[in-house]
Symmetry: C2
Subunit: 721 residues, 2 copies
């Protein structure tokens, strides 16, 4: 190892002799590289189709549309395409919302416009006064901006633009990033540096990154951002900070992005000078109403509040003998007059509840169905525990038909290798979204709960816990940019295929060369299964080390709350391993619709990927492939390691298609991922071996360190903790 | 104010519609923009003089030299200048250290080479086989690299290169940055984001910025870096972290930069398992010896330790009844076998010492003169208190002839407006360096203490507390880059003029246009006096708010240690204001050489800029300009505000010479600086007025807020605290 590492360092030192000129640029520019198109044939076709830009509108958003189009096309087509305000030449791209279109064009598009909602767009090739033109329009200027980014995506991915006829619109209302950013700029579960929000220099200093952040989000349709951590600090609601929030809102507004804040439930006490935060107390209700008024005076389009209450020590209505409905509705009433909403998190579990943690959110919230105000949406994590490499979909989806439920995904890789491991998360997101809840019979997909079609909800949304920080490359890992991108695309349309998204992203970010696209796409799509395999195969979960969740810690058993200990989740013993959530166990399966419950409940029908989530299984149990559970588990760990090795090979083979800086970055990170995959395999297998009492099967590499060694590892300054 | 601010935000929003392509680049590239030369005449002259590069050497450092030269010249001259290994064509730039030069060339340069030391360089136009060539050489490859950067600086600043004859070498051995970076990546007194050192991803992930950091430092001759905070954490000395330090040392080595660490004095207890850290205890001595051996095994050229001991709560030898000599020498003995050094800080003052804080370091350290080991250098801050906008030079300079003393400047603006205020610090540095200590008669300049010529020391150095963080632009303020640059240039040569340095920096960073250079240079050179005027005129000091030191806090009087309170320093009362350090007072003047002491001691000869540093002066005292002290003080505050207003005007007038992004950034920051200059003026004058009992004189704007308002301001998450 030692000599290898030294060699490696030497090699990179030579790489790094390259100039810096491209570094900050490439990494920083995300999926908006807008590289000149090098394929001459494609380039000439595009040039023939695009002669100029006609911008019909003058709003701030419209200016962004025309500037972006001009800048991007000039860069990609390497030509001088100018923006005009009148239609003259042929082959112009005409941009403007419905109301500013020439009457003749509007008439041509009338039918198309009925297909989209307020945020949607039309991209259409038309004949206008016998000249061929491309129109990008929508009901509002923000739709036009989304259309512009969609059009640019066609060019970025080398799609034909001769006969365009696209009508597209987002399937959810709230497509939002949750920043777990603290006011001191640390980021809870942040692995890409520190918070973008420079509170000290706000409101008067507007960092360029705020704009670039907004551009990147707008380009994938994200329309909301919660600036602050769900473990909230009430100070954000003081005038001193609201002035700063206002400045950010002003920057984001023309990009169609609304600002939201986390509301600390005890704020009336901490910054309001009240003696209570009881949601039934009139002074408390009034305090929040006044606070809402104050916020909306500064930020007329303020989105609303995200609340983590009575969860992991956060204050909430239960401190006063009230319930979640009382709390949520009180806040909802405060923001309702201004069109605001409350996103109330269902991530609750209690140390005083002896019930299986996986069951608690459902048990607590489902009885509230139908009791929340119209402007409340309940935000539910994708699984019932906590953003594991794999979880069955959360049983709440489909179980509260009278309540809008919002999906909460975690884009930042708290439990999936921080920003060091290449894990393409849209694959995970897709798996959840296409899960069938069976709550209204077959095809009651989670995606249909989320987009409101299953139970006819108008308020819909998807939240993603951001992986963005102030690292030069935004996300710590060049491929983690794909998770931000993919989240946005799925929030726009939860039915998109993660493979299609990966390809879009790769073409816009790296290269259109098929020799790059094909192997790297395969690598991305397999990467999520790899992390499951080397961390928590066969339904294992939450066996990460304490607090920071970096690396394996299946042995941890000394934490104050039982459900914080990995041993609570894997329950390994002489007899076997896994959490019995079957009807004979905690009956967590009973929270699913009967069809699903029966599948999960039966050891024979339960998908093996979820096996140890739902069952405590004997070490000698025969898996479908004929292996014993112990051997199968060990081989899964080995498979994960081997998959990372394959990823390393794949990457080495595409070197010629990637700029040296990003190539090098990813190579170094894959080396770490490989090292850590082996760490996971060795630590977990040595630990579980104590219970199975069995040898490692053939094909599994022997650990090079002892269990005591792995237990001794400490990471006092692990980030994000 | 309110309406102005809103207008301002709108304006910037429009600016920001510009594409992002240039943003990261310009700001990120520091003084190494290497822009194409737009002046055709100059360009053609350079092209005529530079035909190719001949690189004679193969070391990692030599490769950096040739790559840098190739990349920069190709960019600036917009041509294809290639690197060859043999001299063929005319007008080549021949680079290589003395030993690899062709014998005939070496003979030509023999005399020149006697003029430089091991790190020096020669740049000379020669005839070789009747062809005109430029040779860049030195005794070692690192000298060649410094020569390359020096040559590039000529081109960056549009100097002629036809008949070059330059011999230059650094005047100090240790030109070093002190990073007050913690292991959690917070930076004490850091205002440019967070630490560059990503300890979590090290050693296997080498961030590109590490290389760019090294390049930037090498380009100005910085040859050392202390990676960790002087308020040290012993964990940096554990194998887990030393492996990471080693990786950074490997990156920095070819750039001529040695790595140093801060040594927590109690490390033998905290990570060594010993019961004591007594420097006379054999087990402690051995522990450090073994630790040094361990470090040098990894990093053969490790620089050594920087130590803050028995200072502001840090552990040290006095905890065991020993003294600074015992502590420093014990560590020095540990690193001596490997050529390491110990930089022992003299920044000490005690809560148990009733003596004037300004006197304590001198009182404690001067008696130790001659008692330190040869490889110890005592690091002394530029003034006797703590990095104030202005302090008289530290009386220790020149007072310890038998001990090497190192200068410690603070590049980060702890007391000078964080990274929001434009303050060109080389002006401050120069003022200190050219101060005459008179310790060996007239012309015993501080610079001569620092470069060792006054007392014939071989070990010499200048340290700068870094202002570098992970902000896109490295330093938080585009003009704060000039402070990093200027520090490096003065560390190389403490006799350089700060105006010359400013001009170099501006040309390399922004523009060679005289219409930009002249006004902006004037702005930079005046900026330091401006901050003195609006914060602490006439010798006032340390009246910043508590802890974070952001904004004024002259009223603070409740801190546990008397010398932490602003009232301790200004001593304002009905009779007057200022700290009486004259012979009738604390006799701090007595620590200077008699000539200097007499000047400071006498109210009439004491420079007015230092007046209240040395004297408690009646409110009605007549200043040289005929004003009373009260009126003069108030007018100085106003003058500071007016100077910032002028800076704003200057900047607006050079808009056409600056890229929109950086123009905009600086404009926003100047707006904040103006607002904060008024805050300083109003808060301080309202507070001092309570004692003077006098009206503000004509010409001083009336405060718009009350003293209570200013006292009420709180900054709970101010950075760097």
């Amino acid at each position: 190892m030692e000599s290898k590492k030294r060699f490696f360092l030497k090699v990179t030192a030579v790489f790094f002799l390259v100039s810096w000129s491209s570094i900050a640029q490439k990494d920083y520019k995300l999926w908006m590289q807008y590289d000149k198109i090098s394929n001459a044939e494609i380039l000439s076709k595009y040039k023939a189709s695009v002669n100029g830009i006609v911008s019909l509108e003058n709003s701030a958003t419209a200016k962004i549309s025309s500037n972006e189009l001009e800048m991007a096309l000039n860069a990609m087509l390497d030509s001088k395409i100018e923006v005009k305000s009148k239609i003259e030449a042929e082959n112009s791209i005409i941009i403007g919302s419905e109301s500013v279109l020439d009457a003749e064009i509007r008439t041509q598009l009338q039918k198309d416009l009925t297909l989209i909602n307020e945020e949607g767009f039309i991209i259409k090739s038309i004949l206008f006064k016998n000249k061929k033109q491309i129109v990008i329009t929508g009901k509002k200027d923000i739709g036009v901006l989304y259309g512009v980014y969609s059009f640019l995506r066609l060019v970025q991915t080398h799609q034909p633009i001769e006969n365009l006829n696209i009508a597209d619109a987002p399937k959810t209302n709230i497509r939002i990033l949750n920043h777990w950013d603290n006011l001191d700029r640390t980021v809870e579960r942040g692995y890409a540096g520190f918070s973008l929000w420079n509170w000290q220099k706000l409101p008067d200093f507007i960092d360029h990154r705020y704009v670039d952040y907004a551009r990147a989000n707008a380009s994938i349709g994200i329309n909301g951002t919660v600036l602050t951590n769900v473990n909230a600090n009430a100070l954000i609601l003081t005038p001193q900070y609201l002035e700063k929030v206002e400045a950010l809102a002003n920057v984001f507004r023309p990009y169609g992005i609304k600002v939201y804040l986390t509301a600390r439930f005890s704020a009336p006490i901490e910054i309001g000078g009240l003696k209570t935060a009881d949601p039934k107390d009139v002074s408390v209700m009034n305090w929040w109403k006044e606070k809402a008024k104050e916020i909306y005076k500064r930020i007329p389009d303020f989105g609303g509040f995200l609340v983590k209450a009575n969860s992991e020590g956060q204050p909430g209505p239960q401190n006063y003998g009230r319930d979640h409905v009382d709390g949520a509705n009180m806040l909802a009433d405060a923001v309702a007059p201004f069109g605001g909403i409350v996103m109330w998190r269902a991530f609750v579990y209690s140390e005083h509840d002896a019930n299986d943690r996986a069951k608690q959110a459902y048990a607590e919230f489902v009885p509230y169905d139908g009791k929340f105000r119209e402007n409340v949406i309940v935000q539910v994590k994708n699984g019932a525990i906590d953003f594991q490499p794999r979880e069955p979909f959360h049983p709440m989806f489909g179980a509260m038909p009278k309540t809008p439920l919002m999906m909460e995904f975690q884009i930042t890789q708290e439990y999936l290798g921080f920003s060091t491991h290449l894990v393409y998360l849209p694959k995970l997101f897709q798996e959840v979204l296409e899960s069938d809840t069976y709550q209204k019979g077959k095809n009651s997909l989670v995606a249909k709960v989320v987009d409101g079609t299953l139970d006819n909800h108008k308020l819909t949304g998807i939240a993603g816990v951001s992986n963005i920080g102030n690292d030069l490359n935004w996300t710590g890992h060049p491929f983690a940019q794909a998770n931000w991108y993919g989240f946005g695309r799925l929030a726009w349309n939860p039915y998109l295929d993660s493979g299609v998204i990966a390809e879009e992203w790769m073409r816009a970010t790296f290269s259109n060369d098929e020799k790059f696209i094909n192997p790297v796409k395969e690598m991305m799509l397999k990467s999520r299964e790899a992390v499951v395999n080397y961390m928590t195969p066969l339904g294992l979960h939450h066996i990460m080390d304490t607090g920071h969740h970096y690396g394996p810690g299946p042995w941890v058993s000394n934490l104050s709350r039982p459900e914080w200990n990995p041993v609570y989740y894997h329950k390994a013993d002489k007899n076997g391993i896994g959490f019995d959530r079957s009807k004979k166990g905690t009956d967590a399966v009973g929270q699913y619709a009967p069809t699903v419950a029966n599948i999960f409940d039966n050891l024979k029908t339960c998908p093996e990927k979820d096996l140890l989530w739902f069952h405590h299984v004997p070490w000698n149990y025969k898996l479908q492939n004929g292996q014993t559970l112990w051997n199968g588990l060990a081989l899964k760990y080995q498979e994960g390691v081997d998959q990372v090795k394959e990823m390393q090979t794949t990457w080495k083979n595409v070197k010629q298609y990637v700029d040296p800086e990003r190539f090098d970055e990813v190579e170094m990170l894959l080396n770490i991922q490989y090292k850590e995959a082996k760490w996971w395999r060795d630590a977990c297998l040595l630990y579980f071996q104590q219970f199975s009492g069995k040898e490692l099967p053939d094909g599994v590499e022997k650990p090079t360190q002892s269990l005591d060694y792995f237990k001794s590892l400490q990471f006092p300054f692990a980030p994000g903790n």
